[in-house]
Amino acid sequence: MSVRFFAISVLLFGAVFLAGQRSVAYEKDTEIGYTVATNTISAISETWREKGDDRTDLYCAYWTWDDYGWYCRTWALELNDPLVDAYSLSPYGGSTTRGTDVDTQRATVRYDFLPAVHGKWTAQGEHYVQQWVFVRYCSFRNFCTGWIPSRLNFYYLGATAAEHSPIFLDIARYTSVSLSESTVDTAILPDATELLQTNDGPGDVACPISFRRNGAISVFSVGDGRINDSAEISEVHAVSGRVKVVEEINWCGGRAAPTTTLGCSGPRGILVERTSNREGMLWAHEYGHNQGLWVSGHSPNPNFLGYFSSVPTARRVTQRECDLMREPVD
């Protein structure tokens, strides 16, 4: 008797345990009592992808179950954008969780978000957009309701989508320069973005722009990677790309570049050397020059990005500087 009871317990435990591990293709419908998902997110890509390309997926990040059976407690909208985290969406009124911790709870089933909805993105007021999805509820025993339209509300933290203006940069490197897309996407551009978006103190604004790589890093072989005179710098400035990474900058702005120069702004983009210190700040600073900032002289204040040196504190931008940096790229 006790052995049988033990065996049944083990089987039940195993069933429950395994059930907790399985992936299921169900969503909970709103008739049971939830708005499917309402949460806040801080940024959203404006370039939604096409159906079937396995991008911009809506999936259930955390399944749980109650008396009515399985339901999705936490939705995640994965933008498949290297610079944007997957954001978790909690049931209405719930708390928000954000970030990569949902990866460990990810269900295997995904839905291309665009084809899952019947309609377009609509802006509802200033701070959120709303979209309809079809969901259905399935019980523990796999009894499912029909598909029921539900509404997903995506809220922005603070700024509207329009205010998060991604600036896409074409990046080129001289053939011998070592620069990976991963380094650009995970270090340089996020660092440049973060220092602009963060309000670091008096006089600073949280400038709502973000830098993104536009396509693959192109490779050029014009010249020898070293800018030694005006002819060479003109030659490289003519290469396509807003950011051009070279080996040495020894001539800049019509003059012999002071020793240890790392960046140079030109008529059609910026030239930079690789550096191990605050490379994102360097790119942001040169980009600022390229947008018309600090042309008659650097800022005398070491707390501002326009300062001549990349000291750790040189992170602030004024509203005017922010506005100029957000001007459309030619």
């Binding site: 702005g253 003059r255 020793t259 550096t275």
Partner: protein, 255 residues
């Protein structure tokens, strides 16, 4: 002691005291400087005002410390601005330092800085040691004779790297403004030795441009060269700034 002597002593004491006070004003921490990073390089004039020869030991120490590799370039740069003959020896030793086949970009940047810095040293002190070193460096094969080891990743061979080192020597000579440097650069341009021919041909436009730099430094000094470039920059900017001002005024008067 009469009152005039006493007064003289008092004046002397005050002057000495004032002088001592001035000397007691400490220059900014050199290690803070060398660990910084300027986007467009540092101002020669500013550094020469902020620092003096008392910084030399710390700079040489930094050049001898592998832990400061990322900061070697700035240490080398400042050494030529504030140092004397000892600095020249240290810079040359640094240029020739290294025994591995490859050097990092940071190390190479520092070698370049050291050669340009020798130019600043020559400009300030007329150092014959530094001058001869750079003039001889215009012949690429000299670097083999000097057994300068280590090639930067973007040079495919020692031969190519020797050309690069000679280019750095060219920069240093231009920045020195020294008459002999000008003669050497002009000779390289017009009548190179056979062993300099490839170098001259590969850097023809650079040589022409940097001879102009030499002329500016010879005429105005290094700080004067910077001022000249700055004034040229402002002249180029003037129409744009005027236009920007005009637009601002037009916006303000718009109903």
């Amino acid at each position: 002691m009469n009152w005039q002597s006493a007064l003289s002593l008092l004046v002397l004491a005050l002057a000495t005291g004032t002088n001592v006070s001035a000397q007691q004003v400490t220059q900014p921490d050199v290690s803070e400087y060398i660990r910084g990073q300027a986007f467009h390089g540092d101002s020669y004039e500013e550094l020469s005002t902020l620092y003096d020869s008392t910084a030399v030991p710390a700079l040489i120490e930094a050049l001898n410390s592998d832990a400061e590799e990322e900061n070697w370039a700035r240490a080398a740069y400042l050494l030529g601005i504030v140092g004397g003959e000892r600095a020249g020896g240290a810079l040359i030793a640094f240029i020739e330092k290294g025994d591995s086949p490859f050097i990092s970009r940071a190390h190479n940047r520092a070698r370049k800085a050291a050669m340009q810095s020798l130019g600043y040293l020559i400009n300030r002190t007329r150092s014959e040691l530094a001058l001869d070193y750079l003039i001889e460096g215009l012949t690429p094969s000299v670097w083999r004779e000097r057994n300068v080891m280590g090639v930067v990743p973007y040079a495919d061979s020692y031969e190519e790297y020797d050309l690069l080192l000679s280019t750095y020597a060219l920069f240093g000579l231009a920045l020195s403004g020294h008459p002999r440097a000008g003669e050497a650069l002009t000779a390289l341009q017009r009548s190179p030795k056979p062993e300099q021919l490839q170098f001259r041909d590969s850097e023809e436009s650079t040589l022409t441009q940097w001879l102009e730099v030499h002329g500016l430094v010879a005429e105005r000094g290094v700080a004067g060269m910077d001022d000249y470039y700055e004034s040229q920059h402002r002249l180029e900017l003037a129409p744009r700034l005027e236009e920007a001002q005009r637009l601002r005024e037009a916006q303000q008067t718009r109903p």
